[in-house]
């Protein structure tokens, strides 16, 4: 049972895309309309997403055929439970960060204010397109729209941001080109690009070498895009040098959407038995995930720059998502998806907190943040809560996603992976508690007193909570999101994730 030709899937993409074309003209006329117009477009998308989610939950998946051409000939959009969940997630994050960006970009890059929002909308429409499309080549186009927009956004940052952005261009293009190559291989053996059609045609071809080579290129391409451990070298630079709002946006969305593509294609275009039995990359993925988790956390401990620390923490969190995916059982998949959603909210929130700290004080070295909680209590509290979610303390979302991952590892009898999850959580506790210690207590450092004076001077200038409301509210929305995800994880799993778990891995 599915719903055909309801306009919601098309409107979700069209609103931000068309607005991004008009925005530069409007911005030239009057800069003050830019933010309201952007927000209107995003709210329109959100309404579309909520409508779509409601229809999906009550009536089943939605299909939209562009120009009325039915697949496999035309391009189709399809929103199922998983896509609906991702759409809601992306809309919440896009709205929150758009509100936050206003003050942040006016301070960091006032000259690029109009173009920032233009590219912002392009990025969001690319991401929404990736989530809704049911056509592999169409997905490539949306992937590149999103990637090119994120290269441009990263380059807006200060310092060596342009160099980091260029590295990101080079590596991101390798990833996308590998994806295109894999699509070429799949097309050469099946003659189709539609996901559902491929899912019918591929099982007979699982032993074909072209399919295996294509799948290998696909996995490597997505691993680069999502910064899986040995291929993560573009991520720390890009996250660290980008403007605060951009760091929050790309950490919360682009890598997560790449993980979504990996999940979507491996579980719904292929069947889990393909990458477990016919072409055993599943075990490789779980162990790469485990290595990413541990090494990412270790690298995060050794950072003195708060943004860089969060970037390495992201590398570790990607490891959890890949680990759950590689387990290829129901609990693993659930944990992986839950962690994807949870980490998007949490890391977005954390980067917003850092953005607020940079906005008020200009400081980002962990040691300079001494006693900040006294002057910025809300910001420090938000940081602490989000850190609790990343570490995995109940009742936050992070606890439940890790719990599902551990259950998945127990189901497949891989005890080493449980150790890796626990070790990585322990390391996360270590690096976050270090920051929280600086925020709340004031460990004396004898090495440099000038820093202390500088901070005291800056901190004394602030009164009360000091962070503008337009920055505080988005932060709080994202972080309450993670608590919400923890408290209601049961209903989220049963309504969005359980219906889409492939039958072959149901227990």
């Amino acid at each position: 049972m599915s719903v055909h030709q309801h306009a919601a899937p098309a409107l979700i993409i069209a609103c931000p895309l068309i607005t991004s074309f008009v925005l530069p003209l409007l911005g030239r006329w009057d800069r003050r309309v830019v933010l309201p117009v952007t927000l209107t477009a995003l709210i329109a998308s959100s309404i579309g997403s909520v409508t779509a989610a409601h229809i999906v939950l009550t009536q089943g998946p939605m299909d939209y055929f562009w120009g009325g051409w039915e697949p496999p000939w035309g391009i189709a959009f399809r929103i199922d439970h998983l896509a609906a969940l991702m759409l809601l997630l992306l809309c919440v994050i896009a709205l929150a960060i758009a509100i936050f960006s206003h003050r942040s970009i006016l301070k960091e890059r006032p000259d690029s204010y109009v173009l920032f929002y233009t590219v912002y909308l392009l990025l969001i429409s690319g991401l929404l397109g990736i989530v809704t499309t049911a056509d592999l080549f169409n997905l490539y186009v949306f992937l590149e729209i999103a990637s090119i927009a994120s290269y441009a956004l990263v380059s807006l940052g200060s310092g060596p941001a342009v160099v980091s952005a260029f590295r990101y261009v080079i590596l991101g293009t390798i990833g996308a080109a590998f994806y295109l190559l894999s699509v070429g291989y799949f097309y050469s053996v099946t003659g189709s690009l539609n996901m559902e059609d491929l899912a019918h045609l591929l099982p007979e071809l699982y032993s074909s070498n072209a399919v295996r080579v294509g799948f290998a290129f696909f996995v490597v391409g997505m691993a680069i895009k999502m910064a899986l451990f040995p291929m993560h070298s573009w991520l720390p630079g890009a996250y660290t040098d980008a403007p605060s709002a951009v760091s929050a946006l790309i950490s919360a969305t682009t890598t997560k959407v790449a993980a979504y593509i990996l999940l979507r294609v491996s579980f719904f275009v292929f069947e889990p038995q393909f990458f477990v039995h016919f072409f055993p990359v599943a075990t490789l993925l779980t162990w790469m995930g485990a290595i990413a988790m541990v090494l990412g956390s270790i690298l995060a401990i050794s950072q003195s720059d708060l943004k860089r620390m969060l970037a390495y923490s992201s590398v570790a969190q990607i490891g959890y998502i890949v680990l759950g995916l590689g387990l290829a059982n129901e609990m693993g998949l659930t944990g992986s998806l839950l962690h994807l959603v949870n980490h998007a909210l949490t890391k977005g929130g954390l980067f917003l907190v850092v953005g607020a700290i940079i906005y008020r004080t200009g400081l980002r070295e962990i040691q300079q943040l001494r006693n900040l909680a006294r002057r910025m209590p809300w910001t420090a509290a938000a940081f602490t809560l989000a850190a609790g979610s990343i570490i995995g303390i109940p009742p936050f979302g992070g606890f439940f996603s890790k719990l599902y991952l551990i259950l998945g590892a127990i189901n497949s009898g891989q005890w080493g992976l449980i150790g890796a999850v626990l070790l990585s959580s322990l390391l996360a506790l270590f690096y976050f508690s270090n920051v929280i210690r600086y925020l709340y207590l004031s460990p004396k450092s004898s090495e440099n007193d000038s820093h202390e004076e500088l901070l005291d001077e800056k901190v004394h200038l602030l009164r009360h909570d000091n962070v503008p409301l337009s920055m505080l509210v988005p932060m709080i929305i994202l972080i309450t999101g993670t608590i919400f995800l923890g408290l209601f994880n049961g209903s989220i799993v049963s309504s969005f994730i359980e219906p889409i778990v492939p039958e072959s891995i149901l227990q």
Binding site: V169, T173, I174, A177, L181
Partner: protein, 136 residues
């Protein structure tokens, strides 16, 4: 032995892999950012070339059906269309889009190189890293 091996390997795959490796070498091995960007282009084009070659068939013609009027219908075999007589146009159309995407990536890359050059005055990776360190 080697002759028969060469004959069994499809040339389109050999060519795309060679081009791809040249591009990959330039992207990772070269220190100059312009050369990296050129390498990126070669890398993208190798894949585009490969997918275009998927549509090719030996002895087939361009996928345009000449309109046959009823007068020409003297035999059934003339009016029947055989897919094997025409190359597959779909990969070409897809790659047209991929070329546009590649163009966009290249132009973003070039724009970034302009900014890097105006800020640091060099596009050599080693010199650039030195200048970033001194400017901090």
């Amino acid at each position: 032995m080697s002759d028969s091996f060469l004959l069994t390997v499809p040339f389109n795959i050999v060519i795309y892999i060679v081009l791809m490796m040249i591009g990959f070498y330039a992207m990772t091995g070269k220190k100059n950012f312009i050369k990296k960007l050129v390498g990126m282009n070669i890398f993208q084009w190798s894949i585009i070339l490969f997918v275009v070659s998927l549509g090719a068939k030996r002895g087939a013609t361009i996928p345009i059906v000449v309109h046959t009027t009823p007068q020409n219908h003297d035999s059934l075999s003339m009016s029947a269309l055989e897919a094997a007589h025409y190359i597959n146009p779909l990969p070409h159309v897809l790659m047209l889009t991929a070329i546009v995407v590649g163009l966009a990536t290249t132009s973003v890359g070039l724009a970034l190189l302009l900014r890097i050059h105006s800020r640091y005055g060099t596009l050599e990776e080693d010199e650039l890293l030195d200048r970033i360190k001194t400017s901090e």
